[in-house]
Structures are given as C-alpha cells and as structure tokens.
Amino acid sequence: MNASPAVRRQDPDRDPGLQPERTRLAWRRTTLSGTVVAVLAVKTVLHGGASAAGVTAGALCCVLWLGFLSVAHRRIRTLAATPSPVAFAPRHAAAAVLCTVAMAVCGAALVL
C-alpha cells in the first residue's frame, strides 16, 4: 500500500500479485518433485540387479517424467504468453495426474 504510485503504475499489464509467476514456480517445484521420484526409481532399478522387467519399469518412469515435463513446459509457456492467462485445461490436469499415477504403479512393480 505504501509503494509510490509512480512505481505501481509502471506496467499496467503486470499483475501486482505476481500470480502467473507464482504459478510458474509451482509448476517448477512440482517438476522437481517428479524428478526426485524418477531418480529414486532409477536407483531402485540399478540396486535391484537390472532384470528385464525392472529396466522396463525404470525406463517407463523416465518416459513418464518426460511426459510430465512437457505438460509443465506447455503450461509455463501459456502462462508467460499473456498477462492474464486462460485457465488450466482439465485434459492437461488429467495428463499430469496420469503420469503421477503411472509412476506409482511402476514403483509398485519395482518394489514387489
């Protein structure tokens, strides 16, 4: 509230709450969490003596991570394109969740 009007009115298109930026960073954090899971999956495969099924599950985890990355990348590009971006599409939300669930299924296959 105390910011001088001159500073506040510098760029009328910019959201003073930085919502798109915060959302972009949330996507980054989530991708990072997915990366940790993928790395742990690869570690499990390497530790487990690299059977054919294990290697397949590990490779699938990496592919799923790439899928998640592409969803995140697309969303980040949309967020950056306009000052007031359109809402997230349910199809992409479902795709992101599908990648997560499939990673868990691969994990179950690796653990058993």
Binding site: A26, L40, T44, A87, P90, R91, A94, T100, M103, A104
Partner: protein, 130 residues
C-alpha cells in the same frame, strides 16, 4: 461415487467445464491451479517415500518393507486422483458462483500419515531389539 464418475468425465471433456457458468477472474483459476499442484507435490512426495522405504531400509523384514512401500505408493495414487477431482470441482463451483466444495481428505491424509509415522517408530524399535 456417481459424482466422482461424472467428474472423471469432465477431466477429459474440457468444453463442458467451459460451458458451465461464467469464467472467473483468472487469478482465482491460477490459485486453484497452484493448490492442485501443491496436492500433486504431496502425492509425489508420498510416492518418493514409497521408493525411499524400499531403498533405504534394507534391514527391515520383507513384509514390513514392501507393505509400507505399497501403502505409501497407494496413498500417493489416491492423493493425486483426489487432487485432480477436487480441482475440477473447485473450477466448476467458481464458474457457477457456488461455495467451494469442502473435503474430508486433508484430515484423512493426516491421520494416515500419523499412523504410518507411528508404525515406523514401532518398526524401528522392534528392529532394534530383534
């Protein structure tokens, strides 16, 4: 359950969400998206925890280790499915100008995490003695 199936259909038919009501302020949609992502991170953390239990507790008996790992992985799956379901419900409520949906899930998840934590303490203590 029927409500859930109806919501699942909405995940894949975005046009139906867009036809409902009016488009809310984009900031509300972005806030909803961030909440969804926070839940997804929780799910990923649970899944990562499942891998970690399997990898970093090799001295645990097989049944305990696999049981805990599968429980964590299952919790992660539930959490991520619930994340997208709740996101769709919130998005629709905002478009229709209704109250946001309430949920028992956070309380349920905290209880499960507490139970798993207590189980881990017991496992470590028993493992110590045995």
């Amino acid at each position: 359950m029927i409500e859930f199936v109806r919501n699942v259909r909405l995940w894949f038919v975005p046009a139906e969400v867009r036809e409902d009501g009016e488009t809310p302020d984009y900031r509300f949609s972005l806030a909803n998206e961030r909440t969804f992502l926070a839940w997804l991170r929780t799910a990923l953390a649970l899944i990562g925890g499942g891998f970690a239990v399997d990898q970093f507790l090799p001295d645990l008996r097989w049944a305990w280790r696999v049981g805990l790992a599968l429980a964590l992985l299952g919790a992660g799956v539930l959490c991520s499915l619930r994340a997208v379901n709740h996101w769709v419900r919130c998005e629709r409520a905002m478009r229709r100008g209704e109250d946001l949906p309430v949920s028992r899930f956070p309380a349920l998840l905290s209880l499960v995490v507490a139970v798993v934590a207590v189980a881990m303490v017991l496992v470590v203590l028993v493992g110590w003695e045995g």
